[in-house]
């Protein structure tokens, strides 16, 4: 069989497995993904003028993951160079196409073109090349999610700070709020992966104090990244301090709830119920209170055997 064809058939099988283990039959998973993605995209267009930028950002973030070094070294070592290039081009194309379709439908042709061009270019770039340089971080005391996440995504924070500067320069408050939201969105990704049980087991704490430690760390470290944006915005837009404060607090709330949601399924990944509840929280923030309480109860139960 053609190696490229076989590779993509295998990837399709693996994806179906992920969906099945998430608790859905594959066809329903694909249908829901399409509906969710389109719904969310159109909701973004409805809510903010920066929706096309967010979609481009989303597309590049997704494509970026495919360029991860270990994965690419593996592909390079097993496929011929030409096949490897084709695979990477196809992969990036498959990931970028949904974003491009939405951008085209909404008439953002230049953005669609930029997404397509960027995705093609990124197929030829490998991220995370070996280097002896260690990016310093301010997260020395509890070096885990934030240290690792920051090193992978520091350019998004630089982008957020640049956007804050632009927002102040052109007097666009909404852009400023977007940069604050961007900081928190990037921080949310730091808690997207479940660590191996060992990293929890090493703590000499009970579940409640362990969760509190995680939340305290998140509050402190997300503040280090977000407060420069929030304080700058408050300084230049003193009349809107309450809006900035609201977004800052919402950022903390979403991060804390995500931590609780993550451990509510530990040591497995989050399943369908957690994901649905989190998605609902994003559309109705007051639900965070209920979700956090539910996730907290489940988390303590799930952690009990590991942290007795």
């Amino acid at each position: 069989m053609n190696p490229i064809r076989h590779y993509f058939q295998l990837q399709f099988t693996l994806l179906n497995r992920h969906i099945s283990e998430f608790g859905l039959v594959p066809w329903l998973g694909y249908l829901l993904s399409i509906l969710l993605f389109s719904g969310l995209s159109f909701f973004l267009y409805y809510r903010t003028e920066y929706a096309p930028y967010l979609l481009v950002f989303g597309a590049f973030s997704a494509v970026l993951n495919m360029g991860e070094r270990t994965r690419n070294d593996f592909l390079k070592s097993i496929f011929k160079s030409e096949e490897y290039r084709k695979i990477r081009l196809f992969e990036n194309g498959i990931i970028a196409i949904p974003f491009i379709i939405i951008l085209l439908v909404k008439g953002d042709y230049w953005m669609a073109l930029a997404t397509a061009a960027g995705s093609i270019l990124m197929a030829f770039v490998q991220f995370g090349r070996s280097s002896n340089f260690t990016l310093p971080t301010p997260f020395r005391r509890w070096p885990f999610e934030f240290s690792m996440g920051f090193r992978k995504t520091f350019y998004f924070h630089l982008l957020a700070y640049f956007l804050t500067f632009m927002a102040i320069s052109v007097g666009n408050f909404n852009l400023g709020v977007f940069s604050l939201v961007l900081v928190f969105m990037v921080c949310l990704t730091y808690y997207s992966e479940v660590e191996v049980t060992y990293y929890v087991w090493i703590h000499a704490q009970q579940p409640t104090s362990f969760l509190w430690l995680k939340i305290k760390t998140e509050l402190l470290y997300s503040s280090i990244l977000s407060l420069p944006v929030a304080i700058t915005l408050c300084f230049f837009n003193p009349g809107y301090w309450h809006i900035i404060l609201a977004f800052q607090l919402l950022g903390y709330a979403y991060l804390s709830t995500l931590i609780l949601a993550k451990y509510s399924a530990f040591p497995s990944s989050m399943g369908l119920p957690q994901s649905i509840l989190l998605a609902l929280c994003f559309t109705m923030p007051p639900l965070l209170l209920v979700a956090a309480w539910l996730f907290y109860r489940q988390s303590t139960r799930r952690l009990q055997p590991i942290l007795p």
Binding site: R71, D73, S77, S130
Partner: protein, 226 residues
């Protein structure tokens, strides 16, 4: 035959390999020893074409990577891939019809389980089986004995000897000198990016004694364990 001339590799300002010269003859097993960070894995990645470098690597195979099986220290597996699917993937990548995987599953691995559930040694054995099924001409085995049980250790030693008799080129690294002693025709000592010593079979004993004297030295005494 693979000829490596004046191979250098730097990461930023840090030079990991400093002008390596090495000839890897077919039908021979070449061992590389060296401390952690000496540059063994970087050298392997350069030969496999996974890193760019200065200098030249020439071989009868063009391109070399299409005839080379690389066993990394920590093999990569896609999430949710089974052992059987991994073997099929690697065979298909070289357009080789996979025949009777169960018979060729010499390490008795649970091929229908996810590779991510395998132990370290099982992952290593799966990755080794896959590159053997690819029928490569050149094998680079980075720490093939790491985490592998003693029985499989013996099987791997036999496999390496079989590869030699088939005229394949084998380059291996190991921190366990005895395993190199059993398998290699020539051993190179890599230190800070340079080969500082090499020995043929009759010189292995001296090389090990030198390494022991140099490496161990007074380190244990410095711990002050009493």
């Amino acid at each position: 035959m693979i000829n490596i001339e004046n191979l250098s590799k730097s990461y930023g300002g840090h030079q990991v390999l400093k002008g390596i010269n090495l000839s890897l003859a077919a039908g021979q097993v070449h061992g590389i020893v060296g401390e952690n960070g000496a540059g063994k894995t970087t050298l392997f990645k350069c030969i496999a074409g996974l890193e760019d470098y200065e200098g030249s690597i020439q071989s009868a195979f063009n391109p070399l990577k299409n005839h080379l099986g690389l066993l990394p220290t920590d093999p990569f597996f896609f999430s949710k891939i089974t052992g059987r699917e991994y073997l099929l993937l690697l065979c298909n990548a070289r357009l080789l019809p996979p025949t009777d995987l169960d018979a060729k599953n010499i390490f008795d691995l649970p091929l229908n389980q996810y590779a991510s559930t395998y132990s370290t040694g099982m992952k290593k054995k799966l990755a080794l089986t896959a590159i053997l099924l690819q029928n490569n001409e050149v094998f680079i085995l980075d720490e093939p004995f790491n985490g592998v049980d003693i029985h499989s250790n013996m099987v791997i030693t036999e496999i390496i000897q079989k590869l030699r008799s088939l005229g394949k080129t084998v380059l291996i690294s190991s921190h366990i000198f005895s395993t190199l002693n059993d398998t290699c025709d020539r051993i190179y000592l890599l230190k800070e990016g340079l080969f500082v010593r090499q020995a043929d079979r009759d010189g292995f004993g001296d090389l090990e004694a030198e390494m022991r004297a140099f490496t161990v030295g007074d380190r244990v005494a410095r711990l002050g364990l009493g």
